[in-house]
């Protein structure tokens, strides 16, 4: 390779590395701001802002979804399998909202630790399969759980 070409090649590699390092530093510095939502553990640890609204994401706990007496407000818990936070939301929930589903809620923490949401978005997972496969997976999972329970019981 001629000297001039070599020089240009190194110059381009230098640009790419330089920009890459700069971007990595910037993204690292703003890491927390790039998070779309806080997890229930972070909220429990007091890392989430209490003065202004933020987003909270997690899985809807099984059996936690209840309608309050006014008929419009839904109350449910979200968990990250470690800590759990209760959410109250008044309005229409997205189609994918169900127990066990991931959601992201936007709102504010009330003094009693309940998160009052003004928007609830459903998060779907990266799995795609036909209903019969999902049903078969669930059946074999339930069977496995039942067997494990029987073995530990005996």
């Amino acid at each position: 390779m001629k000297a001039a070409r070599k020089k240009r090649l190194y110059l381009i590699l230098l640009i790419v590395t330089g920009v890459g390092v700069a971007a990595a530093l910037a993204l690292n510095a703003f890491n927390q701001n790039l998070m779309f939502f806080y997890s229930p553990s972070e909220v429990s640890a007091g890392k989430a802002p209490s003065a202004y609204p933020f987003r909270l994401g997690g899985l809807v706990t099984d059996g936690s979804v209840k309608r309050l007496a006014n008929g419009l407000t839904t109350r449910f818990d979200v968990t990250d399998m470690d800590k759990t936070v209760s959410i109250e939301y008044t309005g229409i929930l997205p189609d994918l909202f169900r127990e066990g589903q991931g959601i992201v809620a936007h709102g504010k923490l009330r003094a009693d630790g309940v998160f009052v949401a003004d928007e609830v978005l459903a998060k779907h997972d990266e799995k795609y399969m036909p209903p019969e496969v999902a049903a078969a997976l669930k059946a074999s999972h339930d069977k496995g759980v039942a067997e494990a329970a029987r073995e530990s019981g005996s």
């Binding site: 070409r5 240009r8 090649l9 381009i12 640009i15 790419v16 920009v19 890459g20 971007a23 993204l27 890491n31 790039l34 998070m35 779309f36 939502f37 997890s39 994401g57 929930l93 997205p94 189609d95 994918l96 992201v104 928007e119 609830v120 978005l121 459903a122 998060k123 779907h124 997972d125 990266e126 799995k127 795609y128 399969m129 036909p130 209903p131 496969v133 999902a134 049903a135």
Partner: protein, 245 residues
């Protein structure tokens, strides 16, 4: 073989060789795209959670892949043009920009249409969506910069540098769903281990991905031929070509 590549580098031979490839590419692309669309829209089973809505994936996912792929091709061609002063690489780089921009736009629009029924919103400022929008602006920037400079070779050099600097965004887009919490779900196909998608859905998706790649090659060759003609309009072979037709 080496002679073939050497010939491909000269505008005159590129014009001729690319012209002979175009009908074959067009036919292969049409067949694959029709087959993929039929398999995806009609034959593939419905999803256990999203029902039929997930079928927009067969357009959305290949478009998003292409938006990244074309950017890398554009930046690499730009770099080759800068280092070896190869005219054809400059032509390929600049011809790729509008195609990449179109795929990025398509990915954003189909994602938005998919997001409304599934997530409950057209748009959120999460890391994946935002970085993909920046990619669209990068493409538009490359096109605008090229158009703003009269001398084509200077323009090609300036846009190549912009394209190379923008490459830093590509890994950010790809890993955004792993590095940060996002509303967008994680990777399905391009992750470690087996893809978490049913094989009857995966095959149409991959067929569509290949069809989109062929479409890109087809359109970039057509655009590049036009660009070559424009740049070489004073060359003898172009004048002979025009007189002959």
């Amino acid at each position: 073989m080496l002679r073939f590549f050497h010939q491909l580098g000269s505008p005159k031979h590129f014009y001729r060789i690319a012209g002979s490839w175009i009908p074959w590419l067009a036919a292969a692309c049409a067949v694959l795209m029709l087959y993929g669309l039929y398999q995806g829209m009609v034959v593939a089973p419905t999803d256990y959670q999203q029902g039929d809505s997930y079928r927009i994936m067969f357009i959305h996912v290949p478009s998003a892949w292409m938006s990244l792929f074309i950017y890398v091709v554009m930046a690499a061609a730009g770099a080759i043009g800068l280092i070896w002063h190869m005219k054809l690489a400059e032509v390929i780089a600049i011809s790729s920009a509008p195609i990449g921009a179109s795929f990025t736009f398509l990915a954003l629009i189909t994602g938005s249409i998919w997001g409304k029924p599934m997530w409950g919103t057209w748009w959120v400022w999460d890391a994946r969506l935002t970085s993909e929008l920046i990619l669209l602006f990068l493409y538009l920037g490359v096109m605008a910069l090229y158009g703003a400079i009269d001398d084509k070779r200077t323009a090609a050099r300036a846009t190549a540098i912009l394209a190379i600097v923008g490459v830093v965004n590509i890994p950010i887009i790809h890993y955004s769903v792993e590095w940060w919490n996002t509303l967008h779900q994680g990777p399905t196909v391009t992750k470690f281990g087996a893809p978490s998608i049913d094989i009857r859905m995966l095959i149409p998706l991959l067929v569509m991905a290949v069809a989109f790649k062929l479409f890109y090659v087809l359109v970039v060759l057509m655009r590049a031929r036009l660009e070559v003609l424009e740049r070489e309009r004073n060359a003898r072979w172009v004048r002979e070509l025009v007189e002959a037709s």
